[in-house]
Homo-oligomer: 256 residues x 4
């Protein structure tokens, strides 16, 4: 016979008169005091952010909100075309595309950095970076957080994110290691491989103390905002039907 284990959550207490989130009274202590980004910090870490944490974390969240007609954004618009009564499902469908290929890579960068720093011991970060780059190359895997198909030679979001981190006291060893990995990769592979936005997010999120397994959540939150924005535009200027009809026509043209 199995023994029950307790089921507990500290996130919320809801009574007839009160709603308490992470120990704070929602109507009186949160509403009007915490912005959405600060609320995200409270939800994830259990504490309201300092002004510095708020500045840095909001900049991470904002970075991935909008990047044009991505596969996710097109998917959201197409699903909305079929089920306009379920806006939530259209956003959900788009979010499903936030995997290993596009914005999900912040997670991989943070994992690499947190494991790297965790096992660095007395070693110099240059040596740690060299070991990491060699390890990825030995497994023939791409190094997360480096290079970008469009934004060249540098990803313009990266220096700005590092600047915001530095201005708020969050540019430390993780950011340093990320930069050293980029430098080592460029040296070894002999081509430009600057830190991209997801690499910067992975590094700065690590400075903030976030578990690498949650870094994809930063992208998920930001992109959820952006996908609602795409639906807002789709309502003003619908294009999903045109995309669908063009694709359907062209794809079957050769069968006619």
């Amino acid at each position: 016979m199995r023994q029950n284990k307790p089921i507990r959550s500290n996130l919320c207490l809801s009574t007839p008169e009160r709603i308490v989130v992470q120990g704070l009274d929602l109507p009186n202590e949160i509403l009007g005091n915490l912005s959405l980004g600060d609320m995200a910090w409270l939800e994830i870490t259990g504490k309201a952010p300092t002004p510095q944490q708020s500045a840095v974390f909001n900049s991470l969240l904002v970075t991935l909100v909008e990047h044009g007609m991505t596969p996710m954004a097109i998917a959201t618009r197409l699903v909305y075309l079929g089920a306009p009564e379920s806006l939530q499902s259209a956003v959900a469908a788009g979010l499903c595309g936030l995997g290993t290929v596009f914005a999900g890579t912040a997670e991989g960068a943070a994992k690499m950095l947190q494991e790297g720093i965790g096992s660095a011991g007395e070693r110099d970060l240059g040596a740690v970076a060299a070991g990491i780059v060699a390890g990825f190359r030995a497994q023939r895997r791409g190094i997360p957080g480096l290079g970008h198909p469009v934004h060249k030679p540098i990803d313009p979001r990266t220096p700005r994110l590092f600047e915001i981190a530095r201005d708020n006291g969050y540019e430390g060893r993780y950011v340093e290691l990320m930069k050293r990995i980029a430098a080592e990769a460029e040296r070894v592979m002999n081509r430009p491989l600057p830190v991209n936005a997801t690499g910067a997010i992975g590094a700065v999120a690590s400075e903030l103390g976030l578990d690498w397994r949650l870094c994809r959540g930063i992208a998920v939150i930001g992109r959820a905002v952006g996908l609602v924005g795409h639906i807002a535009e789709e309502l003003r200027n619908p294009i999903a039907k045109e995309i669908y009809e063009r694709v359907d026509d062209e794809a079957s043209e050769h069968l006619r």
Copy 2:
């Protein structure tokens, strides 16, 4: 032969050196300047918010972030248990539950109010409210935005949201109509039916000029934040496996 129509989006221009969102340079004009909630406003309306719009809109977004172990939150945790490599899909799965029964009702309230004000003409808002209540009753449909199974006699979020709206100059005819509908419904049905949080959100979002079809998006954005919070707690203190095993055991016990 069908004629192609143009496919256009104004949300983002991305070049090798630049990312421009809604006409603003992302690294230089947005990062560090706009918080996540303000970015949501920019995405949805096309303009950066005034301080008043920011205060009111952020309070709407924050309201629905966290409400405990809702069906959505449990679903997200269970899906994460099965596919921990796809955090985005776990959040997506939870969002799918944000339909007509729970938080999706902000949409219905906003629709009711926007259609009510749109057709009010010279009529007094009390008369408009009476017509709306009579209409729902004739169709035997519940009036969106009224009453709450837990928060009684009043939903503590509602007066606070209306207060924030008033303090920032956004308590106008939509809020007034929502209150009048509640009063009329209480009078006709002879039981307490105060405005609940989704009713307040529908009313205040209408004051902000948001299309009722986007009001569910406010809940979607907020809940996406909350569901990432549930995954963060699940990582620290896992309970999904216990929920699954208890349910599975009990459900099949009678077949043994």
Copy 3:
């Protein structure tokens, strides 16, 4: 203090040695004996199908598997492009688009027919049909299951589905009512409005005794099969990246 209610399911008993589904031993009584479509019938109704039920139900399930590059299929391919490690999420994303606009309409047709027959009493089906058509017109709502934007003058799937139903003893009053509704709608609106595939599915599913709330499930099952087919083709001949890049380029061209 709330009182627990029992949590029970009859679907499956799983012990170390056995798996029993709906009372049948999975390895010995189901595998090799029931095809996938028959298993679907077992799951939904609790009993293995007769040969007639099998023939009719499989034809319903097969009808909506594939209809080309629908919005759902494109969404699945785009999500797969972003998250190829999560095939399940790509199918899920596409399914989310199966709402009120496209294949979800079988549900509406079945609801209309089941309510119509349920309240018919002694009335002639022609009178019932006239009442239904008048009711939809009074509410300015489209009648589910009639007409098709592409398949004109008749939807070629409909006569075949009705034929299979008839050959197996399942063409009764629901099919009759569906046909009468089409005839009445054509008469009143003075244009061709033949029964389409979802109307036929709604009618035949009603003949099989399926609750209208499950009729969308027929489309969901069929389309899940089809969406895996689209991923199979995407692996052989990828087109999602081309769709994305063309749309992204054209959509932002005017901003350059």
Copy 4:
């Protein structure tokens, strides 16, 4: 300037009078002739199955339809509780949980076998199996398709699936290699590690010639059927609300 590449699909041609799927006329050649499982084969491979392929492939599809109150099934029921108007999204939410932990492992087994046979050359399968087991152990990764937390000492689905494969001429080198891997793993780790259902599916699907990247699709199709079955039962005997309320009560009890 980018050059457009063609967008082509061979799955379906739809004209006013006809719907042709994979070269077969849907109303006249498919409906009434192909069952749902056979249609799945047609969709994925482009050809109608032989009777042997049909028997084997249907048994694979049927295996994973139902396994009780899995995390996926509970998630589907909870999402349906919140959004009963969107059955498709409830199924989609459940499918999202079909990842690396539960049924998704058929994919890993098939990958292991297809790469193993692909690189076997002249080597004996015992040697190939030894190399595979050693490789997984060196990387401290679990071997996909072996062992089961509940079904011990053997998974009763496995011998039956292998029997059906053998009876239809599809028990070859992939099945052989899977068995050898199990034997080698048991020998090296000195504990029972029999082939489980997903291991059997991965092996038999490889015999059928299916790309390992599609093997998760077998589980997705089967489970989509099962999740509709759970919704059917939820309609007859609702339990999602009870699950939700119990969890919510217990989780926040310590905060009161």
